[in-house]
Homo-oligomer: 265 residues x 2
């Protein structure tokens, strides 16, 4: 149970990393059980910046034929989250994540790089990615402590991407969450290095901090998946697409068309 | 044997990453056996850019008291490498590493980022770090195939550090190994992203490509060690020291004093 819930969390986490910053939904295509109900249809978990309620809904354009028994069981079951308070859930989990992130980078020497890493990592935010990671773990019956290092890793990667994306040669932003961007506060050189250190720490954190009750082979697979989600076929590919599309008035919000257009250049 | 030799290789690899670019020596403090001789004293493997012969020598300032029997065995044994051709060894291993690096990044879409990654990674170099990794594996009786993914990872990390170090806000170099630096050829944005993708790939490569004969718990530990060697207490700390020391005429080649001086700021 520990290992399978960790794998679900890792998959959810890497799904959030490789998706767009605006694309805060998660498609689960593998069967899973929740509240004793077996879900066999593709399920989409959707969130938005406004923190609207989490919805569990079957895809209307499912490519998996529903089984009559499963459909009947789903129809007969009570609503999956009758008393679910999404806002409270998000805030509680975000507080847990914030505490873990705070502990993940002590203010050690050399001071400047650790200050810069902590400055950006602890500057706030809804912590959507790590909370989705914890939620995926809990959804399949796991204890959130199993997924907490991976949850923190997703936020470290996200923060790295923001620091580097804010640089003058990228989006050239002066402010992030109402505060000076990393390079405005610490200089471009330190900002780049803070991003590098956060990216490195994300992998180290999963490897060194995941509880030993998770089998090491699953940790290895999760690290491979994290790397794939971050690298040249994942997050970095998305950034390259952003650069390629700059100034292009034909770009629409249709992310798939957008990516197809530029990735296939 | 597979796992212990992998661990030795991983330790050697991370030792080369966290050391200075100029500091191409490796201190082995744990006992090991070579050519049926048990080495219990600290041993230093030293290389230099001029490819002078590899030396295996006991430390004169050993903090480990030699055992009489071991000392006698060492004295009676033949020279450890009577016919060792260091240059041929380096060239053979470098060719193996180059072939593996070439395969590690296919020229996939999006083309620009993969071109940039391959441009810097395959631009040449002595491959000292990966060869030391393979040598450490072989020294303790392992097959080099066990350590090859970690060896490649060290070169990916090294290349990332060079790309980011060459940027205008860092050392502002136009040439690297006789060719335009990454940002001169592809632009600063793509250069930063190519470094990010290489760093991410280094961890993914170890996780996904290390042979299954190496136990996953050792792979997890090696990834944690790699992260530690790269991050804010390793390679990035060294870069921060370089930035802090810029223009300081008091900086000497005494690396330890240098690091102590700046890391303790």
């Amino acid at each position: 149970m520990a290992s399978s819930s960790f794998s679900a969390a890792a998959s959810a986490a890497t799904a959030t990393i490789s998706s767009s910053h605006r694309h805060q939904s998660l498609l689960l295509t593998k069967p899973f059980t929740h509240n004793s109900v077996l879900f066999k249809q593709p399920i989409t978990l959707t969130t938005a910046p406004s923190l609207r309620p989490l919805k569990l809904r079957a895809s209307s354009s499912s490519s998996v034929a529903p089984l009559d028994k499963t459909a009947a069981a789903v129809a007969a079951a009570p609503p999956p989250f009758p008393d679910f308070d999404f806002n409270a859930y998000m805030l509680t989990k975000a507080a847990l994540v914030n505490a873990a992130l705070d502990q993940s980078i002590p203010l050690a020497r050399p001071l400047k790089i650790h200050e810069a890493m902590r400055y950006s990592l602890l500057a706030g935010g809804k912590r959507v990615r790590p909370v989705l990671c914890l939620a995926a773990c809990e959804m399949v019956g796991g204890d959130q402590s199993l997924a907490l290092p991976m949850a923190c890793a997703t936020e470290m990667v996200h923060t790295m991407s923001l620091i580097h994306d804010d640089l003058p040669c990228m989006d050239d932003d002066d402010l992030r969450r109402g505060l000076p961007t990393s390079h405005k506060k610490y200089g471009e050189d330190t900002a780049i290095l803070a991003g590098d250190a956060l990216l490195s720490l994300s992998f180290e954190h999963v490897a060194a901090r995941t509880p030993s009750t998770v089998s090491p082979d699953r940790v290895v697979r999760a690290i491979a998946e994290l790397g794939s989600a971050v690298g040249s076929a994942g997050l970095v590919a998305g950034q390259i697409v952003d650069i390629a599309s700059e100034g292009d008035v034909d770009v629409t919000l249709e992310v798939s068309a957008h990516i197809n257009k530029y990735i296939n250049k």
